[in-house]
Amino acid sequence: MDFLTATLSVDDIWWMETFIDDWFFVIALSLFVIEIIRYAFKRQVTKNLLGDSITNFVTLGLFILLVGLVAIAYVGIFFFVFDNYKIVELPTTLWTILCCIVLADLAYYWEHRFLHKNGFAWASHTVHHSSPHFNISVAYRHGPLDWLFPLFFYLPLAALGFHPFIILLAEVIVQVYQTLLHTETVKKLPRPIEAIFNTPSHHRVHHARNTRYLDKNYAGIFIIWDRLFGTFAREDEKVKYGVYPQINSINPIKVFFSGYIKLAQQIYKAPTWSHKLKLLHKPPIWAWQQSQANYHKTNQ
């Protein structure tokens, strides 16, 4: 048990974070190649699949560019809260890291639920959901503000006394875990695993546009959050991927900014200031219901 409570240096934690981040990307790329080979054997490789996959990696590049611009400020905010507002200071041990991963995963659940329930946040997150395919490359399909929202949900951990590098490490672990879930290759895992952990099956449901699957399975690592909070759905009918309406483009720039362009157009066309504001904070389903109501009104 000593290894759990042995003090780690901040350098060790930073090293772990960058090691996982970098090498996991290499592993993910290898898995993606295996997936493509599998699709080839099934004669399911299409120009659209390849173009969409390339688009996914281009959006990752654009996302990294934006993160590069804000990274110092992002980490700086965590250090500011940790240095000035922490209630206690937790030791930098594996024990602390494990606790932080559980809490970061719970924070991720709420952040993810927020992304689906807030118009402004959805405009960024919709990019990730807009692919009509489901493979490892989709995990890297990012929207322009995907770096911003986690800040608000993970920051309380710094006030609770978790060192900012531990929080970043936990954030990376929660993210890389989910990367592996973006696949159709793995069907269902043994029941105990499906009961506790988020799995490819659960995450396929999350990416579905089937009505019964909408806004389900927000989990990162532990599916227990969805089971507990009533947002769980089991995969028992064929999943149709993507968003309504389908984006039908593999132009990476169009895909990357699609959510905010659509939101800007909706705001521009909104009849009142109240409606404009609601588009920013109400769930995306509200905007869709409004447009449907308008459509029926004008066609009567």
């Binding site: 409570t5 042995a6 024990w95 006394g161 978790f162």
Partner: protein, 199 residues
């Protein structure tokens, strides 16, 4: 579960997991040359005389220290000579060359005190986790300790005064000093613990 209940349950989960993080057994790690407080005979005598008052004042709770294995310099020396051991420790090239990374703490472990507390066996070392090939290690056994100084930055005078807060009438088994270090090897805080044995 509705949204409000879900948020409430999340709050309970956060507090529970945070509690688990807070309740973890602590195991500090251990460099730099540090002057250790030393006692001369007059100080010891003064400390014994002043013990009744100070031990009441220092009616402290215990702190559990997990087993810690350290490697460094050990000597049976006069407590007034600990500075020399610090020098040896600092000059121990073999030990310092064995470090994997900048250590974040150094331990000073006192035991086998002489009857008049003039001398003791003292080890100054790093936890073996910081070393590539640990050998000739010293184990600080897992035990409950009375804190003499909680983890904070202290002046040299305060460190010396801490020795006067010891209840010298009791059976003193060990004294452990933990000097926490910054990345540059400067002391950021010190903690001092004592283990009394059965009367």
């Amino acid at each position: 579960m509705n949204l409000a209940s879900s948020i409430l349950v999340s709050g309970v989960i956060v507090l529970s997991v945070w509690g688990v993080a807070l309740l973890q057994p602590t195991q500090a790690v251990a460099l730099t040359k540090q002057k250790s407080p030393t006692l001369n005979n007059e100080q010891t005598q003064a400390a014994i005389e002043g013990t009744s008052a100070t031990s009441k004042r220092h009616n402290l709770t215990t702190k559990h220290l997990n087993k810690i294995i350290i490697q460094g310099n050990t000597a049976n020396i006069a407590t007034s000579d600990v500075t020399r051991l610090w020098q040896d420790f600092s000059d121990n090239e073999r030990l310092n060359g064995n470090l994997k990374k900048a250590p974040n703490a150094v331990y000073v472990y006192y035991r086998n005190f002489s009857a008049n507390f003039d001398s003791a066996t003292v080890t100054i070392g790093y936890p073996v986790g910081n070393l590539t090939k640990p050998s000739a290690t010293t184990t600080i056994a897992s035990a409950d300790y009375h804190p003499l100084l909680s983890r904070k930055k202290y002046t040299q005078k305060q460190l010396e005064e801490a020795w006067q807060a010891i209840d010298y009438r009791r059976n003193i088994q060990h004294v452990v000093e933990v000097h926490y270090l910054s990345e540059n090897g400067d002391t950021t805080a010190t903690e001092m613990l004592i283990r009394y044995g059965e009367q």
